[in-house]
């Protein structure tokens, strides 16, 4: 479970064009639930995602992770709660690697290396044995039946296949939270519906899922537990799905 207390994030402070992407947001993301951030582009959805996903630190306010043990934090196993607001980047990255799996709007796969390597990439810094990571990557690829592309290059895949490889990459470190930023932006309807199927399977496995999207197919899907509406960096309404 992730709790944000009065979090603000502003950029270019002291420079001529300062702007505040997120204004004093208070939010709690329930565990093993699907939460959707709804709102037009520029409403601070993406910045909020980066704050929750330990990618960036808030200018002010506090973010607290809680749950049975904080994965990726040295000695975090027996900790109930951790304030990650002012952790150095080295530890934020450790938590990000172990706890969060990211799916990007533009998939962000590394061209030039094979699909298998792309999926294994997040596990390189953990120092896990190469063989184990490779075995898990192949399993994930076969789970999303893109295993036949394992050794081909990324730029030869179709949109749907790329998305599934991106999802496989997000799952390589066995994260407990999946963060997706506009996942269905480049997918047609049945691929989007298929994506929601996959999201459903995440929930069944007890993973927390957080999606930022303004695609009605995602927002009105029956699987959504909470919808958070945002505009100009503030939360308008946050309630359970209609």
């Amino acid at each position: 479970m992730i709790a944000l207390h009065d979090v603000t994030k502003s950029f270019n402070i002291g420079k001529p064009n300062p702007f505040t992407a997120v204004r004093s947001v208070g939010l709690t993301i329930a565990a093993a639930r699907l939460t959707v951030l709804k709102g037009p582009s520029g409403s601070g959805k993406t910045t909020l995602l980066t704050l929750i996903g330990c990618m960036a630190r808030p200018t002010s306010g506090r973010i607290v992770l809680s749950g049975d043990g904080i994965a990726g934090f040295p000695g975090g196993e027996e900790m109930r709660e951790l304030d990650i607001t002012s952790l150095p980047e080295r530890f934020l990255a450790g938590i990000r690697r172990a706890t969060f799996g990211f799916i990007f709007q533009h998939f962000n796969l590394v061209r030039g290396i094979t699909v298998l390597e792309n999926v294994m990439l997040p596990a390189y810094p953990t120092g896990e044995r190469h063989g184990e990571v490779r075995k898990r990557a192949v399993e994930l690829l076969s789970l999303f039946n893109v295993e036949r592309h394992a050794h081909s290059r990324v730029d030869l895949l179709s949109g749907g296949e790329t998305q599934r490889v991106a999802i496989a990459r997000a799952l390589i470190n066995r994260p407990s939270v999946i963060v997706a930023d506009e996942p269905t932006a480049h997918l047609d309807t049945d691929l989007s519906r298929e994506f929601m199927e996959i999201v459903g399977s995440f929930k069944r496995e007890g993973k927390t899922v957080l999606i930022a999207s303004h695609d009605p197919l995602v927002c009105e899907s029956s699987r959504v537990d909470t919808v958070v509406e945002m505009r100009d960096g503030r939360i308008l309404r946050s309630g359970s799905a209609p």
Binding site: F11, P58, S86, P88, E89
Partner: protein, 336 residues
Amino acid sequence: MTLHPAVLALFVASLLTGGMVLYAGWYGARILLQWEIGSGSERQLELERRTYLISTLLSVAFALQLLSLFLFVFTADRLHGMFSGAMCAAGTLNVNGFGYPVLVLKIVTFLLAGLWLVVNHADTRGYDYPLIKAKYALLLAIGPLVLVEGYLQYRYFAGLHPDVITSCCGSLFSQGEKGFGGDLAALPAGPMEVAFFGGMAATIACGIRFHRGGRGGYLFSAASSITFAVAVASMISFICLYIYELPTHHCPFCILQKEYGYVGYVLYIALFGGGVAGMGAGVLMPFRGRGSMARVVPALQRRLTEVTLVLYLLFTLVVSYRILLSPLRLGGGPTP
């Protein structure tokens, strides 16, 4: 004498090290002034990113420092042909007044650099940059030393004129000679052997106790530092005699030469490594309890103690091997 390739290499090394330490020192000072861990302001993020740069710069700088220490001694040894009367590095360093100060400064900066790297390693393990103030204060102490050493090294090599008559290590480190070298050589062999082996045994005992029980950290660090000094002194007073199998040849540099199988390098690397690790464990002692360090420092100290024990044991084994092997029997020696 400054246009010899090896001398140019040393100048390049000390210029780069000096530059890097200056750059790191300047940012270190800025960090010391503007550092507030709590705020998420962009200046704080920028400073945190800067810490990566500084630790990378200083790791490279101090690795360079180690390499240039050995290259310096090796160059001095290589140039002894130019000076009549110099049979090894000792003679070359004695050609003008800057030789030995540069060597001593290089050793001191090397030890301090090792300590900085140990503190830096511990600091990166803590999740709230606990030792950042201590780290950069130490850096501000090392910086000037490195610059002074670079300058003295330049003065040393610039002042090297061939055919200067210099005194060989035989006279520099002989019993009769007054001055630092002579006093070391004059130390009686018998008691020094007892002191050396006793020191080693004490360090290893404290080390094991500290490693297992976690108590007596200061004691262990003190023991290892004192034994470091005793070992350096005993190198000159009796260890060299066994290696050269010559009761009068006290020179600590000749063992670096080919005919003694470069055994000097093994001894010095083991001794310096063990010394730095031992002192490192001691330096970390005051931070044992502080916040995030509580979990990190004991584990790191245990590893440092292991390093010290292994290296000191290696040093003692090589020395005792050479003592038993060599036909020379010093009068008061404990050996049969």
